[in-house]
Symmetry: C2
Subunit: 425 residues, 2 copies
């Protein structure tokens, strides 16, 4: 394989002619494939269908403690669901509030309350001159949308294979009192799939923030979302590490079962220090009388315990591996040696992150779209939708079937090649 | 019956001795009854148990339009649940967003967004010097808690048999640009049980607010919660009236099935003009990917249509009537003619509102508590928990059985008598 950068103009023109031909053929095929969002596939959803039988009209609707899940009460979630989710988050039950169907909603609410009421008695962010958030990039577009919505200035922090650039994180957090938070997806990161090293987690826990109301927003969305049985990422427990470092209140951890049971009909949670949790509960009590406890009961009875969750995720992994591998094999087979793109082989999570040559991502996404393959918008993985390099593309391989995924991947590599040739010409 | 106010000191002393005796006897009985919150009773919850069979592992999980309710999508709710709730709210489907399990949460979010982002492009309330809300009193404590939480100044407006004092409402709304909203429970009001007259609704619709970002917060929580088949309150459609009056965007309507299906596991909704709904949806898209659509499907398939809802509410009414009547009959039998309290006989809703002699409410609630009968805190029905007359007590007769309710009512009237005698002595 000859790298594109080493090709002569003539070689590039010949190559382009062949690629154009291939492109034209595919144009005629009228494909309709969506790799845009991290949606579970049909077969994954089917895995959770038996959950819908667990609670029926004959069920005892009381919690272990005897509370009627059908009536008001239990603002912080029923005991058994708090235990289940606490085990999933590797924290104690008392550190957890189990909420409604969306961890994104909890994150939004946490930021919204900080805007209007400050963090644990601090000055409301809306009354402060400037509020900034650090955003490891590429990252999760919906995180960035929240901070953008609240006019919080976002600062890009490069995300490496072992986590964010911690020198930069320390410089900003420890030096600038306007920096109030950082968005993290510490395990099987969205979109790059990397997990934070122990060293990274420890440096997070040992931050010495200039702002008292600084918090780490630790979105552990993919905490048990392994793709393989034998090679699994594990990360250090941030809550424990923060305690050890004398920063017990510095982190909020979020998770949900959106990609375990049903997206939109799962349960979600926030975990933090007892002090933070008490404060959040007192504020939450204004907003709601409580979350959907019948659905919490449904989840608790179906999964039973952390082993139930883990076994369930093994079944997911079996369905997801072929889809990820369809993409990865195609990338490897078609792009290796061409030096027109790089990617990481994730061991879990929901995405494959691809970096094209600078200035090519938008073009690739556009070309794919013309062929009926929808990708996440180029730039979406950066604050304000602006990738300074126009290079990162998030591939979400979970929703199509493996066959469709293979077809989509072929379209993708063709468009990568074409856009790269165009760049060099 | 001799009115207490006409009794001599001797007569009052004799009466007090007898009442004290009765009180002592009841003290020994170790009662444990709760009339504090508007919680459905066990038998009401049982009515909705078959709903839990409607969706099971064999179900077709697609909406009428073919969307998979198990996956992401349908931010504004699935079509069939929007239709169901729209019919319940007497508005068009396009005017409705069906949300999660709590209308209180929607109200909170609506206020929270107004604080940080303003109302439809207006200046955020947090950036305005002063924000005020009108609060018809007695009213719903959780409404007042929201406005208090956001440091919004609350102004008491007397609530009469046909609605709030509209002269005052017009004076404040039309005259003071700091007045941004009014909390209304227009039908079977919490706690007085009254419904707004056509005249009242029309005057609301024809307000001429000094503030462009003024909205009516129309919490139609009890829209189909009749107690009787033959005498039912109906109120004018506020959305239609606002349109007619040239104020199409002036009202947000809220409701939920919390007291139809399951509190905490129902579905909730906001209705408003298309312009408001579009704006809310655009903001809501930052907060969540969507609400629990499986639960929306469950509700839609169980109730089918508005007639299904109405029939279901008839069954509720059959269970609730004896409880309400146990209280009302006891009040009538024990207090008529004594001139120590007044109450309204509600035709629907969840409460009976009692007005004691001024300065007696706290004492009555305290005395009841000593006998094991828990009432809503005196003052709770007023902003800041302060009833200037210390007179209003909210009785929630729905949770205990009719027998318990009768017993609780007997305790209540005894404590009313005793507190009233103490006042006159």
């Amino acid at each position: 394989m000859k790298a594109y950068k080493d090709m002569s103009k003539d070689e590039l023109l010949t190559l382009k002619a062949a690629l154009d031909e291939e492109y034209k053929t595919l144009e005629g095929e009228g494909l309709n494939l969506n790799m845009a969002r991290g949606k579970p596939g049909f077969s994954q959803l089917a895995l959770s269908m038996p959950m819908l039988d667990v609670i029926n009209s004959e069920s005892d609707m009381r919690t272990v403690l005897g509370n009627d899940t059908r009536n008001y009460g239990d603002l912080d979630g029923i005991g058994e669901s708090r235990k289940l989710i606490a085990d999933m988050m590797a924290v104690q039950k008392d550190n957890v509030i189990v909420c409604g169907n969306s961890s994104l909603n909890i994150m939004y609410d946490t930021i919204a309350r900080s805007m209007t009421h400050g963090v644990m008695g601090g000055i409301p962010w809306s009354k402060q001159d400037k509020v900034k958030f650090l955003c490891p990039v590429p990252g999760y577009d919906r995180h960035f949308k929240i901070t953008e919505f609240f006019d919080i200035e976002m600062i890009n922090i490069p995300l490496y294979d072992d986590g964010p650039d911690m020198d930069m994180v320390e410089k900003y957090v420890n030096g600038d009192p306007a920096v109030k938070g950082i968005w993290c997806v510490p395990k099987y990161s969205n979109p790059t799939g990397i997990s934070y090293s122990d060293e990274t987690v420890k440096r997070f826990a040992n931050l010495n923030p200039a702002a008292e109301d600084f918090r780490i927003y630790w979105d552990n969305a993919y905490c048990i979302h392994h793709l393989y049985d034998d090679i699994q990422d594990e990360i250090l427990n941030i809550l424990t590490e923060c305690e050890k470092a004398g920063n017990p209140d510095m982190v909020y951890i979020f998770t949900s079962t959106s990609k375990i049971s049903f997206p939109g009909s799962g349960i979600s949670a926030i975990a933090s220090s007892l002090k933070n949790i008490e404060h959040i509960k007192s504020q939450m009590s204004i907003q709601t009388i409580g979350h959907d406890k019948i659905n919490q009961l449904r989840h608790s009875r179906f999964f039973k315990d952390i082993n139930g969750l883990r076994n369930h995720m093994k079944l997911h992994a079996e369905l997801l591996r072929p889809k990820f591998e369809a993409v990865l094999n195609t990338l490897e087979k078609e792009l290796a040696g061409l030096e027109i793109g790089s990617w990481i082989k994730p061991r879990g999570g929901y995405f494959i992150s691809f970096n094209s040559l600078p200035g090519c991502a938008k073009n690739i996404v556009e070309k794919c779209k013309n062929l009926g393959v929808i990708l996440t918008d180029a730039g979406a993985t950066f604050p304000y939708g602006k990738d300074p390099e126009d290079s990162n593309i998030r591939i979400a391989p979970t929703f199509p079937t493996p066959e469709e995924m293979e077809q989509a991947a072929k379209v993708f590599v063709l468009c990568v090649k074409l856009a790269s040739v165009e760049k060099y010409l």
